[in-house]
Protein backbone atom coordinates (compact mmCIF):
# COMPACT_ATOMS: atom_id res chain seq x y z
CA UNK A 1 0.00 0.00 0.00
CA UNK A 2 1.65 3.22 -1.03
CA UNK A 3 1.84 6.28 1.16
CA UNK A 4 -0.77 8.20 -0.82
CA UNK A 5 -3.27 5.38 -0.60
CA UNK A 6 -2.69 5.16 3.15
CA UNK A 7 -3.14 8.93 3.48
CA UNK A 8 -6.33 8.86 1.45
CA UNK A 9 -7.87 6.14 3.55
CA UNK A 10 -6.83 7.96 6.71
CA UNK A 11 -8.36 11.25 5.58
CA UNK A 12 -11.49 9.72 4.10
CA UNK A 13 -11.98 7.48 7.11
CA UNK A 14 -11.63 10.41 9.50
CA UNK A 15 -14.05 12.51 7.47
CA UNK A 16 -16.64 9.76 7.17
CA UNK A 17 -16.42 8.78 10.82
CA UNK A 18 -16.85 12.36 11.99
CA UNK A 19 -19.75 12.88 9.57
CA UNK A 20 -21.49 9.85 11.06
CA UNK A 21 -20.72 11.19 14.55
CA UNK A 22 -22.45 14.46 13.69
CA UNK A 23 -25.61 12.51 12.97
CA UNK A 24 -25.39 10.13 15.90
CA UNK A 25 -24.50 12.45 18.77
CA UNK A 26 -27.30 13.99 20.80
CA UNK A 27 -25.29 16.84 22.25
CA UNK A 28 -25.41 19.83 19.92
CA UNK A 29 -22.03 21.26 20.95
CA UNK A 30 -20.32 17.94 20.37
CA UNK A 31 -22.02 17.78 16.99
CA UNK A 32 -20.42 21.15 16.20
CA UNK A 33 -17.01 19.74 17.21
CA UNK A 34 -17.42 16.67 14.97
CA UNK A 35 -18.58 18.96 12.17
CA UNK A 36 -15.34 20.89 12.62
CA UNK A 37 -13.32 17.72 12.08
CA UNK A 38 -15.47 16.75 9.11
CA UNK A 39 -14.92 20.09 7.42
CA UNK A 40 -11.20 19.96 8.15
CA UNK A 41 -11.12 16.45 6.71
CA UNK A 42 -12.89 17.62 3.57
CA UNK A 43 -10.33 20.38 3.29
CA UNK A 44 -7.61 17.75 3.54
CA UNK A 45 -9.26 15.76 0.76
CA UNK A 46 -9.36 18.88 -1.38
CA UNK A 47 -5.65 19.47 -0.80
CA UNK A 48 -5.08 15.82 -1.61
CA UNK A 49 -6.84 16.31 -4.93
CA UNK A 50 -4.47 19.14 -5.73
CA UNK A 51 -7.05 21.89 -5.34
CA UNK A 52 -4.96 24.02 -3.00
CA UNK A 53 -6.90 27.22 -3.36
CA UNK A 54 -10.27 25.60 -2.83
CA UNK A 55 -8.95 23.70 0.19
CA UNK A 56 -7.59 26.87 1.78
CA UNK A 57 -10.86 28.69 1.02
CA UNK A 58 -12.75 25.83 2.65
CA UNK A 59 -10.68 26.27 5.81
CA UNK A 60 -10.90 30.04 5.84
CA UNK A 61 -14.57 30.48 4.93
CA UNK A 62 -16.22 27.30 6.13
CA UNK A 63 -14.26 26.43 9.25
CA UNK A 64 -13.13 29.90 10.25
CA UNK A 65 -16.34 31.67 9.29
CA UNK A 66 -19.45 29.55 8.88
CA UNK A 67 -18.68 27.10 11.65
CA UNK A 68 -17.81 29.89 14.10
CA UNK A 69 -21.17 31.43 13.23
CA UNK A 70 -22.89 28.08 13.86
CA UNK A 71 -21.11 27.65 17.19
CA UNK A 72 -22.07 31.16 18.25
CA UNK A 73 -25.65 30.32 17.35
CA UNK A 74 -25.37 27.14 19.41
CA UNK A 75 -24.00 29.03 22.40
CA UNK A 76 -26.71 31.68 22.20
CA UNK A 77 -29.59 29.22 21.99
CA UNK A 78 -28.38 26.13 23.79
CA UNK A 79 -29.26 26.96 27.34
CA UNK A 80 -29.83 24.05 29.63
CA UNK A 81 -32.43 21.70 28.25
CA UNK A 82 -31.72 22.47 24.64
CA UNK A 83 -28.22 21.13 24.58
CA UNK A 84 -29.39 17.54 24.39
CA UNK A 85 -32.62 16.99 22.51
CA UNK A 86 -33.38 13.35 22.10
CA UNK A 87 -34.93 12.03 18.95
CA UNK A 88 -37.46 9.23 19.25
CA UNK A 89 -36.52 5.68 18.40
CA UNK A 90 -39.04 5.39 15.60
CA UNK A 91 -37.66 8.49 13.94
CA UNK A 92 -34.17 7.07 14.25
CA UNK A 93 -35.24 3.83 12.60
CA UNK A 94 -36.94 5.54 9.68
CA UNK A 95 -34.07 8.00 9.21
CA UNK A 96 -31.45 5.26 9.24
CA UNK A 97 -33.44 3.18 6.79
CA UNK A 98 -33.88 6.10 4.43
CA UNK A 99 -30.19 6.96 4.76
CA UNK A 100 -29.07 3.44 3.95
CA UNK A 101 -31.41 3.23 0.99
CA UNK A 102 -30.19 6.57 -0.33
CA UNK A 103 -26.60 5.50 0.05
CA UNK A 104 -27.34 2.27 -1.75
CA UNK A 105 -28.89 4.12 -4.65
CA UNK A 106 -25.99 6.55 -4.89
CA UNK A 107 -23.35 3.85 -4.58
CA UNK A 108 -25.02 1.79 -7.28
CA UNK A 109 -25.13 4.81 -9.55
CA UNK A 110 -21.45 5.48 -8.91
CA UNK A 111 -20.20 1.96 -9.32
CA UNK A 112 -22.10 1.29 -12.51
CA UNK A 113 -21.06 4.54 -14.12
CA UNK A 114 -20.13 3.94 -17.74
CA UNK A 115 -17.02 5.57 -19.01
CA UNK A 116 -17.81 8.00 -21.77
CA UNK A 117 -15.43 8.43 -24.61
CA UNK A 118 -15.54 12.20 -24.60
CA UNK A 119 -13.42 12.57 -21.52
CA UNK A 120 -9.71 12.85 -22.01
CA UNK A 121 -8.03 9.98 -20.24
CA UNK A 122 -5.52 10.21 -17.47
CA UNK A 123 -5.31 12.29 -14.34
CA UNK A 124 -4.92 16.00 -14.48
CA UNK A 125 -1.22 16.07 -13.71
CA UNK A 126 -0.34 14.46 -16.98
CA UNK A 127 -1.92 17.28 -18.88
CA UNK A 128 -0.59 20.25 -16.97
CA UNK A 129 -0.92 20.04 -13.22
CA UNK A 130 -0.26 23.73 -13.21
CA UNK A 131 -3.91 24.26 -13.93
CA UNK A 132 -4.58 24.33 -10.22
CA UNK A 133 -2.42 27.34 -9.52
CA UNK A 134 -4.19 30.35 -8.19
CA UNK A 135 -2.92 32.50 -11.06
CA UNK A 136 -4.89 30.42 -13.52
CA UNK A 137 -7.96 30.55 -11.29
CA UNK A 138 -7.74 34.32 -11.23
CA UNK A 139 -7.26 34.47 -14.99
CA UNK A 140 -10.30 32.34 -15.56
CA UNK A 141 -12.34 34.64 -13.35
CA UNK A 142 -11.21 37.58 -15.43
CA UNK A 143 -12.19 35.85 -18.62
CA UNK A 144 -8.82 35.26 -20.23
CA UNK A 145 -9.69 32.65 -22.74
CA UNK A 146 -6.53 30.61 -22.69
CA UNK A 147 -7.06 29.81 -19.06
CA UNK A 148 -10.39 28.10 -19.50
CA UNK A 149 -9.87 24.87 -21.37
CA UNK A 150 -12.65 23.86 -23.64
CA UNK A 151 -14.75 21.15 -22.14
CA UNK A 152 -17.21 19.08 -24.06
CA UNK A 153 -19.59 19.28 -21.17
CA UNK A 154 -22.88 19.24 -22.98
CA UNK A 155 -22.06 16.31 -25.20
CA UNK A 156 -22.77 18.35 -28.29
CA UNK A 157 -19.74 18.85 -30.49
CA UNK A 158 -18.67 22.46 -30.72
CA UNK A 159 -19.31 22.84 -34.44
CA UNK A 160 -22.96 22.11 -34.09
CA UNK A 161 -23.79 25.16 -31.98
CA UNK A 162 -25.05 27.63 -34.59
CA UNK A 163 -26.14 30.36 -32.22
CA UNK A 164 -22.60 31.29 -31.24
CA UNK A 165 -20.17 33.00 -33.60
CA UNK A 166 -16.97 31.23 -34.51
CA UNK A 167 -14.15 30.98 -32.07
CA UNK A 168 -12.11 33.89 -33.32
CA UNK A 169 -14.88 36.44 -32.91
CA UNK A 170 -16.29 35.27 -29.64
CA UNK A 171 -15.11 37.35 -26.74
CA UNK A 172 -13.81 35.49 -23.71
CA UNK A 173 -16.45 35.16 -21.04
CA UNK A 174 -14.72 33.60 -18.11
CA UNK A 175 -16.37 33.47 -14.72
CA UNK A 176 -16.42 37.18 -14.01
CA UNK A 177 -20.18 37.57 -14.07
CA UNK A 178 -20.95 34.78 -11.58
CA UNK A 179 -18.16 36.12 -9.36
CA UNK A 180 -19.68 39.58 -9.32
CA UNK A 181 -23.13 38.15 -8.75
CA UNK A 182 -21.81 36.18 -5.79
CA UNK A 183 -20.16 39.31 -4.37
CA UNK A 184 -23.35 41.34 -4.57
CA UNK A 185 -25.26 38.37 -3.18
CA UNK A 186 -22.93 38.27 -0.18
CA UNK A 187 -23.44 41.97 0.42
CA UNK A 188 -27.21 41.54 0.35
CA UNK A 189 -26.98 38.55 2.70
CA UNK A 190 -24.76 40.50 5.09
CA UNK A 191 -27.23 43.35 5.29
CA UNK A 192 -30.17 40.98 5.56
CA UNK A 193 -28.65 38.87 8.31
CA UNK A 194 -27.61 41.94 10.29
CA UNK A 195 -31.15 43.28 10.01
CA UNK A 196 -32.79 40.00 10.93
CA UNK A 197 -30.63 39.42 13.97
CA UNK A 198 -30.66 42.93 15.35
CA UNK A 199 -31.45 43.83 18.92
CA UNK A 200 -35.14 44.44 19.13
CA UNK A 201 -36.68 47.04 21.34
CA UNK A 202 -38.69 45.62 24.16
CA UNK A 203 -42.37 46.11 23.46
CA UNK A 204 -44.35 47.40 26.45
CA UNK A 205 -46.78 44.78 27.82
CA UNK A 206 -50.05 46.54 27.02
CA UNK A 207 -53.32 45.17 25.75
CA UNK A 208 -52.40 41.61 26.52
CA UNK A 209 -49.43 41.54 24.17
CA UNK A 210 -46.55 39.64 25.70
CA UNK A 211 -43.29 41.52 25.55
CA UNK A 212 -40.80 39.64 23.40
CA UNK A 213 -37.58 38.64 25.02
CA UNK A 214 -34.86 41.15 24.31
CA UNK A 215 -31.82 39.41 23.00
CA UNK A 216 -28.60 41.25 22.40
CA UNK A 217 -27.26 40.07 19.09
Amino acid sequence: MSFQVFLFYLLAGLTGLCAISVVVTQNIVRAAAWLLFTLAGVSGILFFLGANFVGATQLLVYVGGTLVLVVFGVMLTAQGPFITMKTGAAEWAVSTLVGLLLYGVLATAILTRTKTNDFATGPATQQGGELTRSTVLGESLLGIEQATPKANVTGVPAEKRKDLPSKGERSPVGYLLPFEIVSVHLLVVLIGAAYLARTKRRRQAEGGQPAPRVEGS
Binding site: F3, G64, V68
Partner: protein
Protein backbone atom coordinates in the same frame (compact mmCIF):
# COMPACT_ATOMS: atom_id res chain seq x y z
CA UNK B 1 13.97 1.88 0.51
CA UNK B 2 10.43 1.71 -0.79
CA UNK B 3 8.76 4.93 -1.87
CA UNK B 4 6.17 4.56 0.88
CA UNK B 5 8.75 4.52 3.58
CA UNK B 6 10.71 7.32 1.95
CA UNK B 7 7.63 9.52 1.75
CA UNK B 8 6.68 8.78 5.30
CA UNK B 9 10.20 9.48 6.56
CA UNK B 10 10.40 12.76 4.67
CA UNK B 11 7.12 13.93 6.15
CA UNK B 12 8.15 12.77 9.60
CA UNK B 13 11.49 14.54 9.53
CA UNK B 14 9.97 17.80 8.31
CA UNK B 15 7.29 17.64 10.98
CA UNK B 16 9.83 16.75 13.65
CA UNK B 17 12.08 19.69 12.78
CA UNK B 18 9.14 22.08 12.75
CA UNK B 19 7.71 20.95 16.05
CA UNK B 20 11.15 21.11 17.62
CA UNK B 21 11.55 24.66 16.38
CA UNK B 22 8.11 25.53 17.71
CA UNK B 23 8.76 24.06 21.15
CA UNK B 24 12.23 25.51 21.51
CA UNK B 25 10.98 28.90 20.44
CA UNK B 26 8.15 28.62 22.95
CA UNK B 27 10.65 27.85 25.70
CA UNK B 28 12.82 30.76 24.64
CA UNK B 29 9.83 33.08 24.28
CA UNK B 30 8.59 32.34 27.80
CA UNK B 31 12.03 33.13 29.20
CA UNK B 32 12.24 36.26 27.06
CA UNK B 33 8.82 37.38 28.21
CA UNK B 34 9.77 37.08 31.86
CA UNK B 35 13.03 38.93 31.35
CA UNK B 36 11.43 41.69 29.27
CA UNK B 37 8.60 42.09 31.75
CA UNK B 38 11.07 42.24 34.59
CA UNK B 39 13.33 44.81 33.01
CA UNK B 40 10.42 47.03 32.04
CA UNK B 41 9.19 46.79 35.62
CA UNK B 42 12.67 47.69 36.94
CA UNK B 43 13.51 44.30 38.38
CA UNK B 44 15.63 41.39 37.25
CA UNK B 45 13.47 38.39 36.43
CA UNK B 46 14.60 34.78 36.73
CA UNK B 47 18.23 34.67 37.78
CA UNK B 48 18.63 31.45 39.67
CA UNK B 49 17.96 28.44 37.49
CA UNK B 50 20.78 27.77 35.07
CA UNK B 51 23.33 30.45 35.80
CA UNK B 52 23.14 34.17 36.16
CA UNK B 53 20.47 34.77 33.54
CA UNK B 54 18.09 31.97 34.39
CA UNK B 55 18.34 30.20 31.06
CA UNK B 56 16.77 27.00 32.29
CA UNK B 57 13.88 28.62 34.13
CA UNK B 58 11.37 27.62 31.48
CA UNK B 59 12.64 24.08 31.49
CA UNK B 60 12.08 23.91 35.22
CA UNK B 61 8.62 25.40 34.76
CA UNK B 62 7.82 22.86 32.10
CA UNK B 63 8.92 19.99 34.33
CA UNK B 64 6.77 21.35 37.13
CA UNK B 65 3.77 21.55 34.82
CA UNK B 66 4.30 17.99 33.68
CA UNK B 67 4.14 16.75 37.23
CA UNK B 68 1.01 18.67 38.16
CA UNK B 69 -2.21 16.84 38.87
CA UNK B 70 -4.32 16.31 35.77
CA UNK B 71 -7.58 17.92 36.77
CA UNK B 72 -10.74 17.67 34.73
CA UNK B 73 -13.66 19.50 36.35
CA UNK B 74 -16.71 17.44 37.16
CA UNK B 75 -19.07 19.62 35.13
CA UNK B 76 -16.77 19.78 32.17
CA UNK B 77 -17.67 18.18 28.87
CA UNK B 78 -15.25 15.27 29.04
CA UNK B 79 -14.46 15.00 25.35
CA UNK B 80 -14.36 18.68 24.43
CA UNK B 81 -12.27 19.66 27.44
CA UNK B 82 -9.63 17.19 26.43
CA UNK B 83 -9.40 17.96 22.73
CA UNK B 84 -9.55 21.76 22.96
CA UNK B 85 -5.83 22.44 23.51
CA UNK B 86 -4.75 20.12 20.72
CA UNK B 87 -6.94 21.85 18.16
CA UNK B 88 -5.31 25.16 19.06
CA UNK B 89 -1.87 23.58 18.79
CA UNK B 90 -2.68 21.98 15.44
CA UNK B 91 -3.91 25.26 14.00
CA UNK B 92 -0.78 27.02 15.15
CA UNK B 93 1.61 24.30 13.99
CA UNK B 94 0.17 23.89 10.50
CA UNK B 95 1.08 27.48 9.71
CA UNK B 96 4.78 26.59 9.77
CA UNK B 97 4.44 24.14 6.91
CA UNK B 98 4.55 26.85 4.27
CA UNK B 99 6.74 29.39 6.05
CA UNK B 100 10.11 29.66 4.27
CA UNK B 101 12.99 30.20 6.64
CA UNK B 102 15.56 30.62 3.91
CA UNK B 103 16.12 30.18 0.23
CA UNK B 104 14.16 27.02 -0.39
CA UNK B 105 14.13 26.07 3.28
CA UNK B 106 10.42 25.33 3.40
CA UNK B 107 8.63 21.98 3.78
CA UNK B 108 5.96 22.70 1.16
CA UNK B 109 6.46 25.52 -1.29
CA UNK B 110 2.82 26.33 -1.94
CA UNK B 111 1.78 28.80 -4.57
CA UNK B 112 -0.82 30.22 -2.19
CA UNK B 113 1.33 30.13 0.93
CA UNK B 114 0.12 33.33 2.59
CA UNK B 115 -3.54 32.43 2.00
CA UNK B 116 -2.90 28.99 3.45
CA UNK B 117 -1.31 30.46 6.57
CA UNK B 118 -4.24 32.80 7.14
CA UNK B 119 -6.71 29.96 6.58
CA UNK B 120 -4.98 27.58 8.93
CA UNK B 121 -4.47 30.07 11.71
CA UNK B 122 -8.19 30.79 11.62
CA UNK B 123 -8.87 27.26 12.84
CA UNK B 124 -7.20 28.08 16.13
CA UNK B 125 -10.42 29.75 17.26
CA UNK B 126 -11.99 26.37 17.84
CA UNK B 127 -9.41 25.42 20.39
CA UNK B 128 -10.45 28.54 22.29
CA UNK B 129 -14.20 27.99 21.89
CA UNK B 130 -14.24 24.29 22.66
CA UNK B 131 -11.79 24.69 25.52
CA UNK B 132 -13.83 27.50 27.01
CA UNK B 133 -17.17 25.77 26.62
CA UNK B 134 -15.81 22.40 27.64
CA UNK B 135 -14.57 23.79 30.94
CA UNK B 136 -18.11 24.02 32.22
CA UNK B 137 -17.58 27.30 34.06
CA UNK B 138 -19.24 30.58 33.16
CA UNK B 139 -16.01 32.58 33.26
CA UNK B 140 -14.49 30.29 30.74
CA UNK B 141 -17.48 30.52 28.42
CA UNK B 142 -17.56 34.31 28.59
CA UNK B 143 -13.86 34.54 28.00
CA UNK B 144 -14.02 32.12 25.11
CA UNK B 145 -16.89 33.93 23.41
CA UNK B 146 -15.20 37.32 23.77
CA UNK B 147 -11.95 35.88 22.56
CA UNK B 148 -13.59 34.23 19.56
CA UNK B 149 -15.43 37.41 18.60
CA UNK B 150 -12.20 39.37 18.88
CA UNK B 151 -10.11 36.95 16.83
CA UNK B 152 -12.72 36.56 14.12
CA UNK B 153 -13.21 40.32 13.86
CA UNK B 154 -9.51 41.06 13.64
CA UNK B 155 -8.94 38.49 10.94
CA UNK B 156 -10.73 40.71 8.42
CA UNK B 157 -8.46 43.78 8.54
CA UNK B 158 -5.50 41.43 8.94
CA UNK B 159 -6.35 39.64 5.70
CA UNK B 160 -6.92 42.93 3.88
CA UNK B 161 -3.58 44.25 5.11
CA UNK B 162 -1.93 41.04 3.90
CA UNK B 163 -3.48 41.67 0.49
CA UNK B 164 -1.64 45.00 0.21
CA UNK B 165 1.89 43.59 -0.31
CA UNK B 166 0.38 40.73 -2.32
CA UNK B 167 -0.81 43.33 -4.81
CA UNK B 168 2.66 44.87 -4.86
CA UNK B 169 4.42 41.53 -5.34
CA UNK B 170 1.88 39.96 -7.65
CA UNK B 171 2.05 36.56 -6.01
CA UNK B 172 0.87 34.80 -2.89
CA UNK B 173 3.89 32.55 -2.66
CA UNK B 174 6.05 33.43 0.33
CA UNK B 175 9.21 32.14 -1.34
CA UNK B 176 8.61 34.51 -4.23
CA UNK B 177 8.12 37.31 -1.70
CA UNK B 178 11.51 36.51 -0.27
CA UNK B 179 13.17 36.43 -3.66
CA UNK B 180 11.68 39.75 -4.69
CA UNK B 181 13.06 41.54 -1.66
CA UNK B 182 16.69 40.58 -2.07
CA UNK B 183 19.43 43.13 -2.17
CA UNK B 184 19.60 46.30 -0.17
CA UNK B 185 17.02 47.28 2.39
CA UNK B 186 15.27 49.74 0.15
CA UNK B 187 13.89 46.80 -1.77
CA UNK B 188 11.88 45.76 1.23
CA UNK B 189 8.19 46.13 0.60
CA UNK B 190 7.64 48.20 3.72
CA UNK B 191 9.42 51.07 1.97
CA UNK B 192 7.79 50.50 -1.38
CA UNK B 193 4.98 53.02 -1.07
CA UNK B 194 3.25 54.82 1.77
CA UNK B 195 0.28 52.45 1.67
CA UNK B 196 2.44 49.39 2.24
CA UNK B 197 4.21 51.24 5.03
CA UNK B 198 0.93 51.94 6.78
CA UNK B 199 -0.20 48.39 6.03
CA UNK B 200 2.77 47.03 7.94
CA UNK B 201 1.83 48.81 11.16
CA UNK B 202 -1.86 47.97 10.73
CA UNK B 203 -1.04 44.33 10.03
CA UNK B 204 1.20 44.10 13.05
CA UNK B 205 -1.45 45.55 15.34
CA UNK B 206 -4.17 43.29 13.95
CA UNK B 207 -1.86 40.31 14.29
CA UNK B 208 -1.17 41.21 17.92
CA UNK B 209 -4.92 41.33 18.50
CA UNK B 210 -5.44 38.11 16.65
CA UNK B 211 -2.88 36.38 18.87
CA UNK B 212 -4.81 37.62 21.90
CA UNK B 213 -1.80 39.55 23.18
CA UNK B 214 -1.97 42.73 25.15
CA UNK B 215 -3.26 45.34 24.84
CA UNK B 216 -6.03 43.12 23.43
CA UNK B 217 -5.83 40.34 25.97
CA UNK B 218 -8.94 41.20 27.95
CA UNK B 219 -10.40 37.77 27.59
CA UNK B 220 -7.50 36.04 29.26
CA UNK B 221 -6.18 38.59 31.72
CA UNK B 222 -6.09 37.72 35.38
CA UNK B 223 -7.74 40.85 36.61
CA UNK B 224 -10.72 40.42 34.31
CA UNK B 225 -12.09 36.94 33.95
CA UNK B 226 -9.75 34.95 36.14
CA UNK B 227 -7.98 33.51 33.14
CA UNK B 228 -10.60 33.46 30.44
CA UNK B 229 -10.93 30.31 28.43
CA UNK B 230 -8.05 28.53 30.12
CA UNK B 231 -9.26 29.05 33.68
CA UNK B 232 -9.83 25.38 34.34
CA UNK B 233 -6.75 24.17 32.52
CA UNK B 234 -3.70 23.29 34.55
CA UNK B 235 -0.52 21.43 33.98
CA UNK B 236 0.16 19.95 30.62
CA UNK B 237 -3.00 21.18 28.91
CA UNK B 238 -2.23 24.79 29.85
CA UNK B 239 1.24 24.29 28.47
CA UNK B 240 -0.26 23.19 25.15
CA UNK B 241 -2.40 26.32 25.00
CA UNK B 242 0.60 28.48 25.62
CA UNK B 243 2.71 26.70 23.08
CA UNK B 244 -0.05 27.37 20.60
CA UNK B 245 -0.09 31.05 21.54
CA UNK B 246 3.66 31.54 21.24
CA UNK B 247 3.72 29.47 18.08
CA UNK B 248 1.15 31.68 16.44
CA UNK B 249 3.04 34.77 17.61
CA UNK B 250 6.13 33.49 15.81
CA UNK B 251 4.05 32.57 12.76
CA UNK B 252 2.46 36.00 12.36
CA UNK B 253 5.86 37.59 12.91
CA UNK B 254 7.19 35.35 10.17
CA UNK B 255 4.45 36.51 7.81
CA UNK B 256 5.17 40.14 8.65
CA UNK B 257 8.86 39.65 7.96
CA UNK B 258 8.32 37.88 4.67
CA UNK B 259 5.68 40.26 3.43
CA UNK B 260 7.22 43.53 4.56
CA UNK B 261 10.67 43.27 6.05
CA UNK B 262 12.69 41.45 3.46
CA UNK B 263 12.38 37.86 4.60
CA UNK B 264 15.65 36.09 5.12
CA UNK B 265 17.76 38.80 3.49
CA UNK B 266 20.01 40.97 5.60
CA UNK B 267 19.30 44.05 3.51
CA UNK B 268 22.91 45.09 3.41
CA UNK B 269 24.14 43.22 0.37
CA UNK B 270 23.73 45.00 -2.96
CA UNK B 271 21.72 43.19 -5.56
CA UNK B 272 23.93 42.75 -8.59
CA UNK B 273 26.80 41.15 -6.74
CA UNK B 274 25.23 39.28 -3.84
CA UNK B 275 21.49 39.42 -3.55
CA UNK B 276 21.01 36.33 -1.48
CA UNK B 277 23.53 34.92 0.94
CA UNK B 278 23.07 31.43 -0.41
CA UNK B 279 24.11 32.50 -3.88
CA UNK B 280 27.39 34.06 -2.86
CA UNK B 281 30.74 32.44 -2.46
CA UNK B 282 29.54 30.90 0.81
CA UNK B 283 27.66 28.26 -1.08
CA UNK B 284 24.16 26.95 -0.68
CA UNK B 285 24.39 25.24 2.69
CA UNK B 286 26.32 27.82 4.72
CA UNK B 287 24.45 30.65 3.00
CA UNK B 288 21.13 29.09 3.87
CA UNK B 289 22.17 28.54 7.46
CA UNK B 290 22.93 32.25 7.68
CA UNK B 291 19.63 33.03 5.96
CA UNK B 292 17.74 30.96 8.52
CA UNK B 293 19.61 32.69 11.36
CA UNK B 294 18.74 36.13 10.00
CA UNK B 295 15.10 35.11 9.61
CA UNK B 296 14.83 33.70 13.12
CA UNK B 297 16.49 36.77 14.60
CA UNK B 298 14.04 39.04 12.79
CA UNK B 299 11.18 36.86 14.04
CA UNK B 300 12.34 37.23 17.60
CA UNK B 301 12.78 40.95 17.14
CA UNK B 302 9.11 41.26 16.26
CA UNK B 303 8.13 38.93 19.11
CA UNK B 304 10.18 41.15 21.41
CA UNK B 305 8.26 44.18 20.12
CA UNK B 306 4.99 42.36 20.90
CA UNK B 307 6.17 41.66 24.43
CA UNK B 308 7.43 45.22 24.85
CA UNK B 309 4.02 46.55 23.85
CA UNK B 310 2.33 44.12 26.22
CA UNK B 311 4.15 45.33 29.29
CA UNK B 312 3.93 48.99 28.37
CA UNK B 313 0.39 49.75 27.28
CA UNK B 314 -2.75 49.35 29.40
CA UNK B 315 -5.37 46.90 28.41
CA UNK B 316 -8.32 47.82 26.20
CA UNK B 317 -11.88 47.02 27.28
CA UNK B 318 -13.72 44.52 25.14
CA UNK B 319 -16.01 47.12 23.61
CA UNK B 320 -13.00 49.29 22.85
CA UNK B 321 -11.33 46.28 21.25
CA UNK B 322 -14.28 45.62 18.96
CA UNK B 323 -14.73 49.30 18.20
CA UNK B 324 -11.07 49.65 17.25
CA UNK B 325 -11.41 46.81 14.81
CA UNK B 326 -14.71 47.63 13.22
CA UNK B 327 -14.61 51.41 13.23
CA UNK B 328 -10.91 52.06 12.71
CA UNK B 329 -8.91 49.17 11.34
CA UNK B 330 -11.44 47.96 8.82
CA UNK B 331 -11.89 51.32 7.04
CA UNK B 332 -8.15 51.99 7.28
CA UNK B 333 -7.26 48.68 5.68
CA UNK B 334 -9.85 49.10 2.93
CA UNK B 335 -8.43 52.54 2.18
CA UNK B 336 -4.92 51.09 2.07
CA UNK B 337 -6.03 48.37 -0.34
CA UNK B 338 -7.60 50.96 -2.60
CA UNK B 339 -4.54 53.15 -2.35
CA UNK B 340 -2.07 50.45 -3.22
CA UNK B 341 -4.19 49.29 -6.16
CA UNK B 342 -4.16 52.84 -7.52
CA UNK B 343 -0.45 53.09 -6.82
CA UNK B 344 0.34 49.94 -8.71
CA UNK B 345 -1.99 50.73 -11.57
CA UNK B 346 -1.35 54.38 -12.18
CA UNK B 347 0.62 56.50 -9.81
CA UNK B 348 3.75 54.56 -9.08
CA UNK B 349 7.00 56.50 -9.29
CA UNK B 350 9.66 53.84 -9.49
CA UNK B 351 12.10 55.88 -7.42
CA UNK B 352 9.83 56.27 -4.39
CA UNK B 353 11.37 53.53 -2.33
CA UNK B 354 14.80 55.19 -2.11
CA UNK B 355 13.78 58.40 -0.32
CA UNK B 356 11.25 56.44 1.74
CA UNK B 357 13.78 53.90 2.90
CA UNK B 358 16.56 56.36 3.54
CA UNK B 359 14.14 58.71 5.30
CA UNK B 360 12.78 56.02 7.61
CA UNK B 361 16.16 54.58 8.43
CA UNK B 362 17.58 58.06 8.95
CA UNK B 363 14.75 58.91 11.32
CA UNK B 364 15.28 55.70 13.23
CA UNK B 365 19.01 56.27 13.52
CA UNK B 366 18.45 59.86 14.64
CA UNK B 367 16.01 58.64 17.32
CA UNK B 368 18.47 56.06 18.59
CA UNK B 369 21.30 58.58 18.64
CA UNK B 370 19.22 61.06 20.58
CA UNK B 371 18.20 58.48 23.15
CA UNK B 372 21.74 57.25 23.55
CA UNK B 373 23.30 60.67 23.79
CA UNK B 374 20.79 62.16 26.20
CA UNK B 375 22.46 62.29 29.60
CA UNK B 376 20.57 60.07 31.94
CA UNK B 377 19.66 61.55 35.25
CA UNK B 378 19.79 59.17 38.10
CA UNK B 379 16.84 59.48 40.42
CA UNK B 380 17.57 61.72 43.36
CA UNK B 381 17.40 59.99 46.69
CA UNK B 382 14.55 62.04 48.12
CA UNK B 383 11.41 63.80 47.11
CA UNK B 384 11.08 67.06 45.27
CA UNK B 385 8.96 70.15 45.62
CA UNK B 386 6.00 70.17 47.92
CA UNK B 387 6.78 66.70 49.18
CA UNK B 388 9.91 68.05 50.79
CA UNK B 389 8.04 70.25 53.23
CA UNK B 390 8.47 69.06 56.80
CA UNK B 391 5.62 67.26 58.38
CA UNK B 392 3.65 69.57 60.70
CA UNK B 393 4.39 69.05 64.37
CA UNK B 394 1.16 68.81 66.26
CA UNK B 395 2.92 69.29 69.55
CA UNK B 396 2.28 65.81 70.77
CA UNK B 397 5.17 63.83 69.42
CA UNK B 398 8.67 64.86 68.53
CA UNK B 399 9.05 65.60 64.82
CA UNK B 400 10.39 62.58 62.93
CA UNK B 401 12.79 64.58 60.77
CA UNK B 402 16.16 65.22 62.39
CA UNK B 403 17.05 68.79 63.19
CA UNK B 404 13.53 70.04 62.85
CA UNK B 405 12.54 70.15 66.48
CA UNK B 406 10.22 72.94 67.39
Amino acid sequence: MSPTLAGFLAAFIAGFVLITFMLVSAIFAVWLERKVAARIQDRLGPTRVGGKFGWLQTLADGLKLLFKEDLVPRDADQVLFRIGPYIALAGSFLAFIVLPFGNGVVPVDLNIAVFFMLAVMSTEIFGVILGGYGSGSKWAVFGAMREAAQIVSYEVPMAICVLVPVIVAGTMSLSAFGHQQNGMFWNWFVFHDPFTFAAFWTYFTCATASCKRAPFDLAEAESELVAGFHTEYSGFRWLIFFMAEYGSMVAVSGIAILLFLGGWHTGLLPRPWAGDLSETFLGTFVGNVLNVLVFVMKCYLLVFVMMWVRWTLPRLRIDQVMMTCLKYFLPISCFLLLGVSLWQAALAPWWFKYPMALGCVGLFVAMVVKIVLTPSTLPVAGLSGMWNAPAPNYGLLPSPLPGKRE
